[in-house]
């Protein structure tokens, strides 16, 4: 019971923290949304649906990476993570609280972008498809939460934002989230298929009907990726025990 109660309180604490730090929250949300507005709707007309799927993937991936990666790194530096670890709060509840923030970001990004696509891009989908898109994006951000968590545990706090950007932007580009991979040279297309955002975008494109996809390989890919980062996270968490201070 305390575990559930603690989780709810940690979720609430995360909510309050986000709501009270607009200087962090707004840019994290607005960056991908503006990106979609400029490129997805203004600069490249006629592709609102396709780019909705890929830019929203880009957005939820960023929210997950940064809220976990930079967030955990900062809280490590701050000593907050230490205090929580010394407290009886279950590890799962601590991570659930953080994950809630990332999932909420993902939902907001999915909804705002969907609305923009509908209002300014003329995208029309069945209600079930709008919901499925949001569900894919929200659940699909979980692997990136783990990736952010692992990186946040391994990286030096002040290096985290720079390193994450170094990973985030090329990963988004190479996965075809800005420009579809078929516009890439052949050797780059091959790379995309090994990158998790490509597979999340493929699922998003499939549920909206923009481009049919086979679910099994993409799901397997994302599952393997999730598993790999779960292990890195566990190792990173253990490593906290070993470091001084």
């Amino acid at each position: 019971m305390t575990a559930v109660n603690a989780s709810l309180h940690l979720i609430q604490a995360q909510w309050l923290n986000l709501a009270r730090t607009p200087s962090y929250t707004l840019p994290t949300l607005l960056f991908p949304i503006m990106f979609y507005g400029f490129f997805g709707l203004l600069m490249i007309p006629g592709q609102a649906l396709w780019l909705l799927c890929t830019f929203a993937t880009f957005g939820v991936m960023g929210a997950a990476l940064f809220s976990f990666g930079v967030g955990i790194a900062t809280e490590r530096a701050q000593g907050w993570l230490m205090l929580l670890r010394a407290s009886p709060a279950p590890v799962g509840a601590v991570i659930a609280g953080k994950a809630f923030g990332a999932l909420l970001f993902a939902l907001i990004i999915a909804v705002v972008m969907s609305t923009m696509a509908a209002v300014f891009g003329g995208v029309r989908l069945a209600t079930g498809q709008w919901l499925a898109l949001a569900a894919v994006l929200v659940l699909g951000s979980l692997p990136f939460c783990l990736m952010g968590l692992a990186l946040g545990l391994w990286l030096k706090p002040n290096a985290a934002p720079a390193v994450l950007n170094l990973i985030y932007l090329p990963l988004g580009f190479l996965s075809g989230l800005w420009i579809p991979t078929m516009q890439f040279p052949k050797f780059l297309q091959g790379i995309a298929e090994w990158l998790p955002p490509y597979h999340l975008a493929a699922l998003a494109l499939d549920v909206t009907g923009a481009k049919p996809a086979d679910w099994a390989p993409s799901l397997i890919h994302l599952a393997v990726f999730t598993f790999a980062f779960a292990i890195l996270t566990a190792l990173g968490w253990k490593r906290l025990d070993g470091t001084r201070g």
Partner: protein, 612 residues
């Protein structure tokens, strides 16, 4: 945990937004895009071992100028799969799946299939329109017999050779009024009290909207009975109560005022007796009125010959069926006397456009001087000539009618739209006459043959083999029972082949303007398909019957009105085809042998029937 409640409310609101995001419009249960299962089955051909590298129906037009219904995108691509557009936009961002058939569209323009917002569709209208890139017809008066079939056809994304048809069905008019002169038995609304019942009956028949005729005949120098204002208002109200559009036929400013006062949603003609003044236009714009000016039919009615518009477009001329040529070549009586009124019509267009009244392109084909398909292109060109920008004129034939009429994702080239497209040489967004230079037309993603079924119509005599003598009874399957019940009458007929002859039984009853019942023989592979039979000169019949009078009807040239000849049953009836004025042997469709008198049960046997 007050904050936790706020969290839950925020999440609920976000999901709520998803629930109200717009769904695809469409009156029929059409899925906006393929469901994932269907599409993955279609799209995975290149992933699996299925030896089908290019799924049929999947193709892309690349390097093309794309008009998506609203705007022009240069250097674009459009991808079609399974009867739908799956991607459209800049080349750079438009995915073209492996194994897609690619059509290079360099220097060309891809447009949505065009929409004609005023036609009367019968005979070969739907295939004739298609050859000119008109993939959707909004019919403003026809009998509703085949609506069920039409509704199924337009809901399907299977390849088809016919444009999709939406229709008002029977029009609402006064007894003896405009619309009753065509031999179709039009049910009359007869007073305001009957309006709702009348509207409901139309909707039950499958009408997509309600058309009301307000036509006193004055514009044309005559007097015609017309519906009174109370009935018009009651009809509009009845339509709106059922959530369908009510549109009006008008010819004069006064009739238009009556229609607008009654609350109609649109006028399906522009009036000809005066030009629209800006104040009226502003008022109409504010009411949200739309107008289908039908410039081609008005031009014809005001003395401009339809054929003249085709000068210099030999390709387009070559694609006309005989029916299209016939209607285009026909003229309204006394049209030339009214030619001065055209300037007023033309002047109204920029006034309406400036005020913001929505203008839709419509032809009113196949009235004299117009032809299905071709005249819709003419309507776009004329809207441009009258003052609309080329882009506005193109929208009038694509996105504008799709926004007004309940016709689903048509008139657009965006993912989820129906794969109805036209590829033309040149750039209609700077010069709409480029629409006549059609390179290809696709309906539901399948390419449409641009040539007509019969030998290419030309003014020189045919060089093909002289049609041999044909024994009509050799293949009993080319016969069908036919009676006026098809046209709303009460007669009925049945046929039964019996060794080399055809027994026809049935009952002739009053109920249609000219009752008939009997058997019909189709010349082409399918019913009423036109074929070139210019080698024939005589029809020989041997008919035994207990009836007194037989009526032999010849259908040709797509004309819904047959040419007929009454004969008495006899062993050797010889009909000289050359003597039948109006018979178009170049596009011969069918011949029918019917009983015309007396009413009651009959039994006939066709012992011999032969064309020579």
């Amino acid at each position: 945990m007050k904050n936790l409640r706020i969290v839950l409310i925020v999440i609920a609101l976000l999901i709520g937004v998803l629930l109200v995001l717009p769904k695809p419009t469409g009156s029929l249960p059409e899925s906006p895009v393929d469901t994932p299962t269907e599409s993955s089955a279609a799209g995975d051909a290149d992933a699996g071992p299925v030896p089908d590298p290019a799924p049929p129906g999947r193709f892309a037009i690349t390097n093309v100028r794309l008009f998506d219904g609203t705007r022009v995108i240069e250097n674009a691509a459009v991808v079609v799969d399974a009867g739908r557009v799956v991607a459209a936009g800049r080349m750079m961002t438009t995915p073209i799946p492996d194994g897609t058939t690619v059509i290079d569209g360099s220097g060309r323009t891809a447009l949505p299939g065009l929409i004609d917002a005023h036609v009367h569709s019968f005979g070969t209208a739907q295939s004739d329109a298609l050859r000119f890139g008109v993939t959707t017809l909004l019919d403003m008066f026809r009998a509703p017999e085949d609506f069920e079939e039409q509704h199924l056809a337009r809901a399907s994304t299977e390849p088809t050779g016919r444009a999709d048809l939406f229709s008002a069905g029977y029009l609402a008019t006064a007894e003896g009024g405009h619309g009753t002169q065509y031999g179709i038995d039009v049910p009359l609304p007869a007073g305001p009290d009957r309006a709702q019942a009348w509207v409901d009956a139309r909707l039950a028949e499958g009408s997509d909207w309600i058309k009301i005729v307000i036509e006193g005949g004055r514009a044309w120098g005559g007097r015609t009975p017309s519906l009174d204002a109370a009935t018009v208002s009651a009809l509009v109200e009845a339509a709106h109560r059922r959530d369908v559009l009510a549109v009006a036929h008008v010819s004069t400013r006064a009739e238009a005022d009556l229609a607008v006062a009654a609350g109609v949603d649109g006028l399906v003609h522009l009036f000809i007796d005066e030009a629209v003044d800006p104040a009226t236009a502003e008022d109409w714009a504010e009411r949200g009125l739309f107008i289908v000016p039908t410039l081609p039919v008005l031009a014809s009615a005001l003395g401009q010959a339809g054929m003249e518009r085709l000068a210099g477009f030999d390709d387009a001329r070559a694609r006309l069926s005989s029916e299209q040529r016939r209607s285009l070549g026909a003229v309204f009586p006394n049209a030339a006397q009214r030619s001065a009124q055209w300037s007023g019509v033309a002047a109204s267009i920029p006034t309406l456009q400036a005020a913001g009244v929505r203008l839709l392109a419509g032809s009113d084909a196949p009235n004299p001087g117009t032809a299905h398909g071709l005249s819709l292109i003419d309507a776009v060109i004329r809207l441009h000539e009258a003052g609309l920008s080329p882009l506005e004129a193109l929208r009038a034939a694509t996105s504008a009618p799709a926004a007004v009429f309940p016709i689903g994702p048509r008139g657009c080239l965006r993912p989820g739209c129906r794969a109805d497209l036209v590829l033309v040489a040149g750039d209609p967004s700077s010069d709409p006459t480029a629409l006549l230079d059609i390179v290809g037309v696709w309906k539901n993603g399948a390419e449409v043959a641009l040539g007509i079924d019969a030998a290419p119509p030309s003014d020189t005599p045919p060089a093909d083999e002289p049609a041999a003598a044909v024994d009509l009874l050799a293949d009993p399957s080319s016969w069908m029972a036919s009676a006026d019940d098809f046209m709303g009458g009460a007669s009925e007929a049945a046929i039964e082949p019996m060794d080399g002859a055809l027994r026809v039984t049935g009952t002739l009853r009053e109920g249609f303007a000219f009752p008939y019942a009997g058997a019909m023989w189709s010349a082409g592979a399918s019913i009423m398909q036109p074929v070139d039979r210019r080698g024939w000169s005589t029809l020989t019949l041997d008919v035994e019957s207990d009836a007194e009078l037989l009526r032999v009807m010849f259908f040709s040239g797509g004309n819904p009105q047959p040419i007929w000849l009454d004969v008495e049953p006899a062993a050797a009836i010889e009909i000289d085809l050359a003597g039948l004025t109006g018979l178009d042997l170049a596009a011969f469709q069918a011949v029918g042998v019917f009983v015309a008198e007396p009413t009651g049960a009959f039994e006939s046997t066709i012992i011999e029937a032969r064309f020579e």
